[in-house]
Amino acid sequence: MSERLIVIGGGGAGTAAATIAKRVKPDLHVSVFTEFEDIAYSPCGIPFVHGREIPRFEDLFLSTVERYVADGLDMRMETVVTDIDLDRRIITARNQHEGFDQLVICTGFTWEKPSVPGANLEGLHYVKNIRKAMEFDKLLDEVKRVAVVGATPLGVEMAGNLGHRGLEVDFIDEGPWVLGEVLDPDTAEPVHKSLEERGVTLRLGTKVEGFVGEDHVRAVATSEGELPCDIVIVCLEKIPNTTLAVAAGLEVGTTGGLVVDDHMRTKVPGVYAAGDAIEVPHGLTMLPIRGLTGSHAYAQGRTAAANIAGEDRVYDPVWIPWGLVGGDYTIGGFSIGETLATAMGVPYIVCKGVGVSRARYYPGATRTYVKLLADPTSHKLIGGQVHGGEGVKERCDFLAFVAKRGATIEDLAWMENIYSPPIGALFEPIAIAAQNGLAELRAGKVQASATPAASPAGSGVPA
């Protein structure tokens, strides 16, 4: 009888773990258990269908259940796993016990619910399941005024897209700017402008105190007064869904995510976990973090699969390249920005530069703003943010990779770059930022931040 792998969860991590394990070790019997009807679609695309940037929800599907079955996977759709017995190595689903030799837990996340009065009213929506999104999209045709709660990446995408659809949007968050957990205020400013141009009303520095209505929500009660609305979209934090794993006795860390090692192994032999249910260390500090992107979940699932299939695959601590379009404006970054560096007390110097995405004379060229954070002593990159039009994603991917390899601002100041008028300017914006930073350092105009002795004002900005 062949060895059996059970994967719990059909999101990015789960599908990667199942398909890659089967591909690398074809004689493995792989079963995937998911509570949902569908698999292999992109939930990240949902806001853009609501905003009518993408015409149909069907376009978000990447594969079908039948295709997975044809590839030899045992697909258990709409099947909730209710128990894991790690000692007997069985799971329970639909009151049936099923044995496993190896197990991957990819139970994902649930959205944080607001802990205020009225949070159970009808009309509060959470974006996750594509079928619910299809139903919700029909409802959007019947409403005029929407409140989006939480200036998280999903919140920014939902607010911008619903504005684009022509709805009146109140965008509510306690922070002083959008994406306050990752973004710096100088990078946030153009996003605010772009969202407002799409008809979004920013309600920043505003606390949600409750939801008002009899059965259905009709307003959001906030610290700044009541905001009438037809529906609310809640976009707060992603909470690791670890209930099943914790009940089985697996360990969670200080973020609430499952603890795994660099092979995605839990402390129980043959039991792995991956995706939004786990925590992994940040490359700069080695502190565990959670709530990363779909590409991280997929890579973690692949890592688990490779190790299950007998390889020795290590998943590195993360440097988190990220990016998104806020309104019509592209922003991105990697590792940490000034806000997080200041919060953590990490010393840094800042190098800033502005370049263009194509030759200046070539039609369609856009400005690209680069901010690099480096260690004041070693000059190694520790974080940064990029914003503008074209090439933000590629620059953030590149910067995250070279930061992981220990690149310094001197390396970047003298980097090679492509010069071809339609796709790249003579001067690379990253190199411009690094050279500006070095010039400021040579002139003695840069102060390190975050160490009180070095900078009582805490300024890391070139003078």
Binding site: E174, G175, P176, W177, G180, E181, D184, P185, D186, A188, E189, H192, K193, L204, G205, T206, K207, S223, V246, E251, V252, G253, T254, T255, G256, V259, V260, D261, D262, R265, V280, P281, G283, T285, M286, L287, P288, D316, P317, E338, T339, L340, T342, A343, M344, G345, V346, P347, K380, K404, R405, G406, D411, A450, T451, P452, A453, G458, S459, V461
Partner: protein
């Protein structure tokens, strides 16, 4: 879940929240355009006026050493910090070398 783990989670959550809000207020001073004061109520005064100033007085090197010594980092769970040495070229695994 053990009470100790829950306590650690809550402490980390509160510490991060108050450090982040304090950082946001500082950053607003540096980049005032387009921002608004973060929402603040009267809760968490001890965190705001006790923990945050104290944390900020301690140099990063000391905090970093303390986090490692107290097991707050991932090394104890089987992770290795990256070498971050640009001078060392990446070497392909032996079975892939031709």
């Amino acid at each position: 879940m053990s009470g100790l783990i829950e306590l650690k989670q809550r402490l980390r959550e509160h510490a991060e929240h108050h450090l982040r809000v304090a950082a946001m207020e500082e950053l607003r001073g540096r980049y005032p355009a387009g921002t608004t004061p973060p929402y603040r109520d009267h809760s968490g005064l001890l965190w705001r006026y006790g923990f945050v100033p104290l944390y900020r007085r301690v140099p990063w090197e000391v905090k970093e050493r303390a986090m490692h010594a107290l097991g707050m980092t991932a090394e104890g769970s089987g992770w290795t910090p990256p070498a971050r040495s640009p001078s060392d070229p990446w070497v392909p695994p032996a079975n892939l070398r031709r």
